[in-house]
């Protein structure tokens, strides 16, 4: 059956990576068909496994690795939906890239790296233990580094690639520290015989971890989950480690699409979802997740309002939407237990569809007009009907537009509204409505910036002379497929929640749902997300299409708020310049260099040890008179002394 080939889900793209890297130059389209075929193979196997295990089966395979660790595959409902989404969206992006990258001479390298990227992400998804998860997670980071720096000869790309790797690395170290702590705690309870691994299980497997939760000290568990969340913050671009994601736009647009939709950034959310039973057992961590997520959702959206680079707007939108997913895990997790995973993952997947679509549309626009700056676009609707339409669909989905009560709407309508309602429910139960407030305001801003983008790009009069045209079929095809999903994926909501709800029970882990009947939220709460969505649309329509308001007063360097937003809250200055260059390099590293050269080498070795020896030599060498007689006298004196000493020591006659 399909589950026997589960390992191929990862191995096929890896093989494609190797083949494309070395043989790509000799193949048509830079060997693009190899990764496409491989990822299609992964998708088919994933789909096959889904059909095989539905509704409540899981696939587990495992082989021992080193030092009591293992390599293994765990495909449960959570993993299988991710597998299908990742391989499917990645496949579409690859197809699109055949057109998008058609003029780039380094195509073989591009397709090889994206193939490895997909493989690494698939490997994250189906890992059955936290170590393998971490390894794949790091490989994802590596591939993002390579792909963001794909045009390595551009200094900005090289810098962005480094920033992406380093900032996510901060999170990775926290994640690693979490694994260290977890391992030590697991090991302690095993040594003290409080817990024993089931036969065939390994210490860092998710199943063992979940089984051990009740035995691990609560404080330790909070530390572990917080450290895990630190990893997720890095990977998913949450505040304060969000800065790399907008900079990551230096890579090709298709790479951005991959990073933002199918791979990489969702890994952070997936990590929290994967280890959710541990988070549930550590409510303090959940609170942190909720607040960081909610704040990021709002914080990133504010910057999305003022960006002029089409891809940067989308990047901040991703940061913001990832904040929603975290918020869902944090708030809903505290109220509805395991169902929160479903809510969050549903948004993750619908976001994957419409965000991939947004990026690919942006790519199509950039391909056509040759610039990223939306101020230089305009009036493209007539020239690029398919792109404009599909992008509108994606924008509607992002803004969560739909009709409440009769449940008709875009994917975002179902997924995002559920999160906002979850936040409200949380607020109602705990009296803490701040996350809900974050979510609603962010929803309004989301709607404003995405329609601002659309109106500035597609309506009005063209602001450049360039002759723009619709992209070729190989590019518009994926757009239309994704648009279908962005429109209709939402209708699978009930089934999706139901399928994922039992996820952890299948592994023998029960998450206590909190008591109390689910009360239907007030009508205003149900309506509010849609109202703010429409309101945002209207505001953008008024300002950017009808030009009813003159924005030039606001948009000027005189306006401190605008300046703050445009400078991204000075995050690049604080992060890279202050902490990176000034503090680390100029202060710490240079003073270390000073200690090394001047203190250890200069003072201790040269001045103290070396000089003392030289001065000693200076004194002793005066004894060398150069007169042979002196030497002879001293020798004789010495012999005489020796004889006397021998006489005293040994006596004799």
């Amino acid at each position: 059956m399909f589950s026997d080939f589960a390992a191929l889900i990862v191995l096929l793209p890896v093989i494609a990576f190797v083949l494309t890297l070395f043989l790509g130059k000799k193949l048509p389209h830079g060997g693009a068909y190899l990764p496409i075929a491989a990822i299609a193979g992964s998708f088919i196997i994933s789909l096959g496994i889904f059909l095989q295990i539905y509704p409540e089966g899981i696939v587990q395979q495992s082989i021992p690795w080193f030092a009591g660790m293992n390599l293994g595959i765990l495909i449960d409902p959570l993993a299988v939906v991710m597998l299908m989404m990742v391989s499917f969206v990645s496949m579409l992006i690859h197809i699109y890239a055949v057109g998008y990258m058609s003029h780039d001479p380094a195509r073989p390298r591009y397709f090889a790296e994206t193939s490895l990227f997909t493989a690494a992400m698939l490997s994250v998804v189906l890992s059955d233990n936290i170590l393998q998860f971490f390894i794949s997670w790091e490989l994802v980071g590596l591939c993002s580094f390579l792909l963001i720096g794909f045009w390595y000869h551009k200094p900005s790309a090289a810098a962005a690639a480094k920033k992406a790797f380093l900032v996510t690395r901060v999170g990775d170290v926290l994640f690693l520290a979490g694994i260290v702590l977890l391992y030590v705690n697991m090991s302690d309870i095993i040594t003290s015989r409080a817990f024993s691994l089931a036969p065939g299980n390994f210490i860092l497997q998710f199943k063992s971890m979940f089984d051990a939760i009740p035995l691990i000290d609560k404080t330790q568990l909070t530390y572990i989950t917080l450290l895990f969340f630190g990893g997720a913050v890095g990977k998913s671009g949450q505040f304060p480690l969000h800065g790399w994601l907008p900079d990551a736009m230096e890579g090709p647009t298709t790479v951005s699409a991959l990073i933002h939709a199918a791979t990489m950034v969702t890994a952070g959310v997936y990590l929290v979802a994967r280890t959710f039973p541990m988070f549930v057992a550590a409510p303090d961590s959940l609170l942190v997740v909720a607040y960081v997520g909610g704040f990021t959702a709002l914080f990133a959206a504010t910057m999305g309002l003022v960006m002029n680079d089409i891809k940067r707007v989308l990047a901040y939108s991703t940061v913001s939407q990832l904040g929603y997913m975290m918020l869902a895990l944090g708030t809903a997790g505290a109220v509805v237990g395991a169902k929160a995973v479903g809510i969050s993952m549903f948004h993750l997947i619908s976001h994957a569809f419409f965000k991939a679509l947004l990026f690919l549309c942006a790519g199509s626009v950039i391909h056509a007009v040759g610039t990223n700056d939306i101020r230089e676009m305009g009036g493209l609707f007539g020239k690029m009907k398919i792109t404009a339409t599909t992008m509108m669909i994606a924008a509607l989905a992002l803004a969560g537009i739909g009709i409440p009560f009769i449940n008709i709407g875009t994917a975002g309508f179902f997924s995002k509204d559920a999160i906002i309602e979850g936040a409200f429910e949380y607020g109602e139960k705990t009296g803490d409505l701040i996350p809900y407030g974050f979510a609603v305001i962010a929803a309004l801003l989301t709607s404003i910036y995405i329609f601002r983008l659309w109106f500035m790009a597609f309506t009005g009069t063209p602001r450049s002379e360039r002759h723009s045209h619709e992209s070729p079929g190989v590019m518009t095809g994926p757009l239309m497929i994704l648009a279908v999903f962005a429109l209709f994926f939402g209708f699978s909501q009930t089934g999706f929640y139901h399928y994922l709800e039992t996820n952890f029970e299948l592994m023998g882990v029960s998450i206590a749902a909190h008591e109390g009947e689910a009360v239907p939220p007030p009508i205003i709460v149900v309506l509010l997300p849609v109202i703010v969505g429409v309101l945002g649309f209207l505001i953008s329509y008024a300002i950017y299409h009808k030009r009813m308001l003159d924005m030039s007063k606001l948009i000027s360097s005189q306006n401190p708020l605008y300046k703050l937003l445009l400078n991204r809250y000075y995050e690049p200055k604080i992060g890279a310049d202050l902490i990176g260059v000034k503090l680390t390099h100029n202060v710490v590293a240079q003073s270390g260099e000073f200690v090394d050269r001047k203190i250890i080498d200069g003072l201790v070795i040269d001045n103290i040890i070396s000089n003392t020896l030289f001065q000693l030599g200076e004194v002793v060498r005066k004894l060398q008179t150069g007169v042979v007689q002196n030497y002879a006298s001293v020798t004789l004196l010495g012999i005489g002394l020796l004889l006397v000493l021998l006489r005293i020591k040994f006596g004799g006659t």
Binding site: R621, K622, Q624, V627, V628, Q629, A632, L636
Partner: protein, 99 residues
């Protein structure tokens, strides 16, 4: 004559040689004094050999004489070479080895 007589004579010659090395300034004289010391040692070797009935000491004495000859040859050669360069064999003036 007893062994002690030989040893006494040997010791006297040795001390004369040593005294000469310390007090004399001329390279030639110093070499001669070294010869004296060597020969005192040779005398010891032969004397012990004779009184102990063991030929090893005499063999060593012959070795020693051969080495003394070689040493004297090299020593005088060095002094001649030195004289050519420095116009003196007064060792007080030949002290470039110091410091």
């Amino acid at each position: 004559m007893s062994l002690y007589t030989y040893l006494l004579i040997s010791a006297i010659i040795f001390v004369i040689g040593a005294y000469g090395i310390i007090t004399q300034r001329s390279g030639i004289k110093i070499l001669m004094c070294i010869e004296l010391m060597l020969n005192s040692a040779n005398l010891n070797l032969v004397a012990f050999s004779s009184f102990n009935g063991n030929a090893t000491g005499q063999v060593f004495a012959i070795f020693s004489i051969a080495i003394a000859a070689a040493e004297a040859a090299i020593g005088f050669a060095i002094l001649v070479a030195l004289f050519r360069v420095r116009d003196t064999i007064n060792l007080d003036n030949i002290n470039i080895l110091r410091w």
